[in-house]
Symmetry: C2
Subunit: 211 residues, 2 copies
């Protein structure tokens, strides 16, 4: 299965700026991308990077330099829909799924439905498989609901993959807790090596530098 | 399978107070409890409520009045550990899993491991099954990690259930987005009937009254 992984190298994970500076966010985003690409490949997928800006893959630690890169600076949905027009079936898996494992990604592939969706936290769509040419994506807002409606509108069947590992996209500092607790790859390792750990503040786990 | 569902009727879901007043939070908490109990029963479990305060089940809309209630005003972990001492295997499923379906709950039951854990967002433990008498719970902090360590310390095998529906516990207002997008039961219906809807603000889905 062809798997498109959208990636924005320009100012990645800006919501993490209370915890990580710009250089750290670039390194951490590359580590998450490496984890996603690795999980996709181990699950039997053929990953491609869809980048918003020119990208030197050799400079991304842990990313195989042979992985194809397409550069498209348009908004995410337009670029993905062009990718869907090229070839079907195609899967689209977000680059910031730092908990994704090959077992979790494998759950996307076997279903025969026209559209298979792994929801993200807070109404989003973190991964999907498209087998039907009439379907297009729109990631704006509560996209899970919109994608189900868009599939139904063209008579496409829909299946949902109920996965915590695919539901966690790293947006906010509190998501880093789950990266350290559940992550098994480069992103969790990067956080640990950069000196971050989970501590409990007022009863809630948070991620802080351990100095 | 005996399934203990801890419930605190005193000031439930206090973090939702920016959106729901105290009466609304009590009604909404009862609706979530009814959904969890229903999903457990349909999945083949025998639910019991473990309440921090005396509870008139007849006053909880949608909750079967025949469901056994144990009142224990101690902290959650102590009360649950007493429940585990009574009988094994026992499952413990949190009352605020508003996305839980019987399909999701069923995934907890078949594994033969001594401890089966469904993680919650931000390091937590939202559901678990205990078959080993040496294991006890401690819900403080990043409890998923602590529960895995506690099981390993007594030589108990551990399995994890990778479920988005079991990972979402309703703590904060943003969690209400997922209740409206994915919920199939009384909690989602309560929100809709109370006039709440998902709208997009600055690109992010949020739940607001529709007036």
């Amino acid at each position: 299965m062809r798997v498109v992984v959208p990636f924005d190298p320009r100012d990645p994970n800006s919501r993490l700026s209370p915890v990580l500076d710009a250089d750290q966010r670039r390194e951490f985003a590359a580590a998450m991308l490496a984890d996603v690409l690795s999980a996709v490949r181990t699950a039997g997928g053929a990953p491609e990077i869809l980048s918003t800006a020119p990208l030197d893959v050799d400079e991304l630690a842990g990313v195989d330099s042979e992985i194809p890169v397409t550069v498209d600076d348009r908004p995410l949905s337009a670029a993905v829909n062009d990718g869907l027009a090229d070839e079907l079936p195609t899967a689209v898996v977000m680059a910031d799924l730092a908990l994704a494992t090959s077992d979790a990604v494998e759950r996307l592939f076997p279903a025969e439905d026209d559209v298979v969706i792994a929801p993200g936290q807070t109404g989003g769509t973190n991964a999907l498989v498209v087998r039907s040419s009439g379907f297009s994506v729109d990631y704006h807002g509560a996209s899970y609901r919109d994608h189900v409606a868009a599939a139904e509108a063209v008579g496409a069947s829909v299946a949902t993959v109920d996965s915590f590992r695919l539901a966690v996209d790293v947006d906010d500092p509190e998501d880093l807790v789950d990266v350290l607790v559940h992550g098994e790859g480069a992103a969790a390792e990067w956080l640990r090596e950069a000196g971050f750990e989970v501590v409990v503040r007022d009863g809630d786990p948070v991620v802080e530098p351990n100095d």
